[in-house]
């Protein structure tokens, strides 16, 4: 039988290697922009304008039009092709926006207004508030659910906590990726990003539940075996399913990434990374963690740590 659980330290290490760069990016952008992730107009208020011109334009030239009018913190980037620009600026009065568009058209030729979003500060505050509540409520509801679903198992709270640790792992991986992409490519989080996050959380827990469910089933059947062996068996038994399901979700998401509309690319990319991370963390984090906890390794490690400190203190 393949021993998955035995190599658990490696999995924790791999997770760390993936998470740390993201954390660094988040701290860096927190220090630089005041927020670990680049926030879109949904949260900060401001306006976003997507224009497609008849011929290619340079973002810097477009930006100059805004700068000339005193809108200094305007960013312009190309999207999809070199004729399409995404312009982010402060929230503009309608008349100002109209005259800027007229100005742009006068300079660079006729443009088609593909998208315009303008969000006031009150809405931004409200969305931020609702988003924080949603994330907290979502996480709590899921822990509560797991504890209830596994109430028949000894130490059911441990199952819940392990699932939540895996969930945080996925949130960190996804948010880290977004933070890095925010620094490199200007990715911003919007209401859709939160949706993707909450979905990742839901699916991550789903994967974990399937493995836990098998452990729940196998534990009474194999009383004599050590817990580690039961868990390893349960993992292997559900591995095919985890991979097949993951593969199917990947097919759909990759299809949307390749063929779907540009406006939801980041949303789908978030889902994609989150789901890969979700499957990984269920098999290689949540379950080994449960073993570490149930076999008392975690306690031993803590004791060792404290023991050493105590020795140092006296010596």
């Amino acid at each position: 039988m393949i021993d998955i659980i035995g190599k658990r330290r490696w999995y924790f290490l791999i997770s760390l290697l993936v998470i740390v760069p993201g954390l660094v990016a988040m701290i860096y952008s927190w220090a630089t922009f005041g927020s670990p992730l680049r926030l879109s107009v949904d949260f900060t208020s401001g306006s976003l304008l997507e224009l497609t011109f008849a011929s290619p334009v340079l973002p810097a030239d477009v930006r100059q039009v805004y700068i000339d009018r005193g809108y200094l913190d305007t960013s312009v980037q190309t999207a999809e092709n070199d004729r399409t620009v995404l312009i982010r600026s402060k929230q503009l009065p309608l008349a100002t926006k109209q005259s800027i568009v007229a100005d742009l058209e006068a300079r660079f030729g006729p443009a088609e207004e593909r998208r315009y979003e303008s969000v006031g500060p009150a809405v931004g505050r409200e969305v931020t508030r609702a988003a924080s509540i949603a994330v907290a409520a979502g996480a709590l509801a899921i822990v509560a659910f797991i504890v209830i679903a596994f109430r028949g198992v000894p130490n059911s709270v441990r199952y819940g906590v392990c699932a939540v640790v895996a969930m945080f792992h996925d949130v960190l991986v996804t948010a880290g990726l977004f933070s890095i992409m925010g620094l490199i490519a200007g990715w911003e989080i919007d209401a859709l990003f939160l949706t993707a996050m909450l979905t990742v959380v839901g699916f991550s827990v789903q994967d974990t539940i399937v493995v836990f469910d098998r452990i729940r089933e196998n534990t009474p059947k194999r009383r004599g075996e050590p817990f580690e062996a039961i868990v390893n068996r349960s993992l292997l038994e559900t591995l095919h399913r985890s991979l097949a399901t993951q593969l199917n979700a990947m097919f759909v998401l990759v299809a949307i990434l390749l063929f779907g509309g540009a406006t939801i690319k980041q949303f789908v990319a978030t889902l994609f990374v989150g789901m890969v991370s979700g499957t990984y963390s269920s098999i290689f984090n949540a379950v080994p963690l449960l073993v570490v906890w149930e076999t008392g390794e975690a306690g031993a490690a803590l004791r060792r740590l404290f023991g050493r400190r105590a020795v140092r203190a006296t010596g």
Binding site: V123, T195, T199, Q206, A255, I264
Partner: protein, 454 residues
């Protein structure tokens, strides 16, 4: 057992057939007229603004937050906004009060969002102002005795602090309409005064021939004509360099009067028609490719049961689409993703079952027993994992009910419906099909484990 399965099969076939009929793109809709029963319903897919293009605006009462706004005032403002929108000729507009000081407006298919916004929230305060003997250039902002200009306004006023005398206001008007002007390419707004207004207008123009009577809307001079002759019959024209749309939306503002409370545009989202169509085309293509790959994968990996799961998956897609059309669910771009993602869930349930079946076969169970065990043993994990996704959906739905996050709602709804329907198709449809196929091909299958993917 046997009769039970056949009955289920008939029900399933019926459901799928009805769904297929509803899904049919050229569906004529439901038009039944039998005495007391009178059903008239068109069945079509409702596309969200991000797919069909359009404008969504959140209007807020522009008064200090400490100052309460009573419901009747907002209700009246909503009616006026509605009237203005209807006059703009938008199909299927949506106007709704949100909370106690917001109005949500959604206008699908609007070509010129800026103009629509201007028409919706402009206060539409019309004034005829005595400008003395020198004309005021069109487009300048002036102070009038009726509207001194709000505090903190930074607009540059024409003629400094001079306050112009307001002679008439929009409340003296009976009607306003747009029509072609003297030049075929220019349009103008025709005004019709109420009887007593008409009388005062006639009187004023008789006594002030030669003076300028500037036409001012929301403090901005539109034109400043000189009174050449007395105007007795209570009709006037606003000429300017108007396009038809401009003339019409101006007429709409004048006709439906000033708002009882000033409105501020708090949030605007507009999607151009090409981006929307582009998204639809791409989503359909992505969906077809994604689903096809899943279908092929299932057939290759799980063989006969995989093919049956494919049938269940197709019926799943048909039922889902039919529900979107009948409930109806407004389909948005994230909604499409939610739907596609939920097909993954639908397949997952079958994968759990088939993997379990294969295990049971490996442990030496006979085929029939392995099939039943596959379904019954996989149930707890299907139930628990689906419940966790449903919880997520509920949280997302609540979050999406906030204005700034409405697109989230579409995702939550489609994912939620998908999970529910997948329980039906992946469990009941697949099980019925597997049992029936096993009954007819059982002996053939027993000798060929490869056909089961085992």
């Amino acid at each position: 057992m046997r009769r039970h399965d056949w009955r289920l099969l008939v029900i399933i076939v019926l459901i799928v057939a009805v769904s297929g009929w509803v899904d049919w793109p050229a569906n004529p809709g439901l038009h039944i007229n039998l005495g007391p029963i009178d059903i008239n319903r068109d069945i079509g897919l409702q596309q969200g603004l991000d797919l069909r293009g359009g404008l969504a605006v959140l209007l807020a009462a522009d008064v200090p937050e400490s100052q309460p706004v009573d419901r009747d005032t907002m209700g009246a403002a909503k009616v006026i906004v509605e009237n203005r929108i209807n006059a703009l000729g938008v199909t299927e507009p949506f106007v709704q009060l949100q909370g106690d000081r917001h109005i949500v407006v959604e206008l699908p298919g609007v070509q010129d969002p800026d103009r629509a916004i201007a028409a919706i929230h402009g206060t539409g305060l019309l004034e005829f102002v005595d400008a003395g003997t020198t004309s005021v250039p069109a487009g300048s902002t002036i102070r009038t005795t009726n509207k001194a200009g709000g505090e903190g306004e930074t607009a540059q006023y024409f003629a400094g602090d001079q306050v112009f005398q307001t002679i008439f206001t929009g409340s003296d008007l009976a009607n306003a309409s747009a029509s072609t002007g003297e030049l075929p390419s220019s349009y103008e707004v025709n005004l019709e005064f109420k009887p007593d207004g008409a009388q005062r207008f006639a009187e004023y123009t008789r006594n002030n021939v030669g003076r300028i009577l500037a036409i001012v809307i929301d403090g901005v001079v539109i034109s400043s004509p000189r009174i050449e002759n007395p105007i007795p019959e209570g009709r006037a024209r606003i000429t300017g360099d108007f396009t038809y749309d401009e003339a019409r939306s101006l007429a709409v503002q004048l006709k439906y009067g000033a708002l009882p409370v000033p409105l501020r545009v708090e949030e605007t989202r507009s999607v151009g028609p090409t981006l929307g169509q582009d998204s639809v085309r791409k989503s359909v293509r992505a969906g077809v490719v994604g689903l096809s790959v899943v279908l092929v994968f299932m057939a290759i990996y799980y063989r006969v049961p995989g093919l049956l799961a494919d049938l269940a998956l197709i019926s799943y897609a048909l039922i889902n689409l039919a529900l979107y059309k009948t409930i109806p669910v407004t389909i948005t771009l994230p909604g499409v993703t939610g739907f596609l993602l939920s097909t993954g869930m639908a397949v997952d349930a079958n994968i759990l079952i088939f993997e379990r079946m294969k295990e049971e076969l490996r442990w030496g169970r006979p085929l029939g027993g392995a099939i039943e065990a596959g379904f019954s043993r996989a149930w707890t994990s299907i139930r628990d994992s689906n419940l966790s996704v449903i919880i997520t959906c509920l949280v997302l739905f609540w979050f999406g009910s906030n204005f700034g996050a409405t697109q989230v709602k579409g995702f939550a709804v489609t994912l939620f419906l998908g999970v529910l329907i997948s329980m039906f198709t992946a469990l009941i449809v697949t099980r019925t099909l597997v049992r029936l196929v096993f009954r007819f091909l059982g002996s053939w299958l027993r000798g060929r484990p490869w056909a089961l993917g085992a």
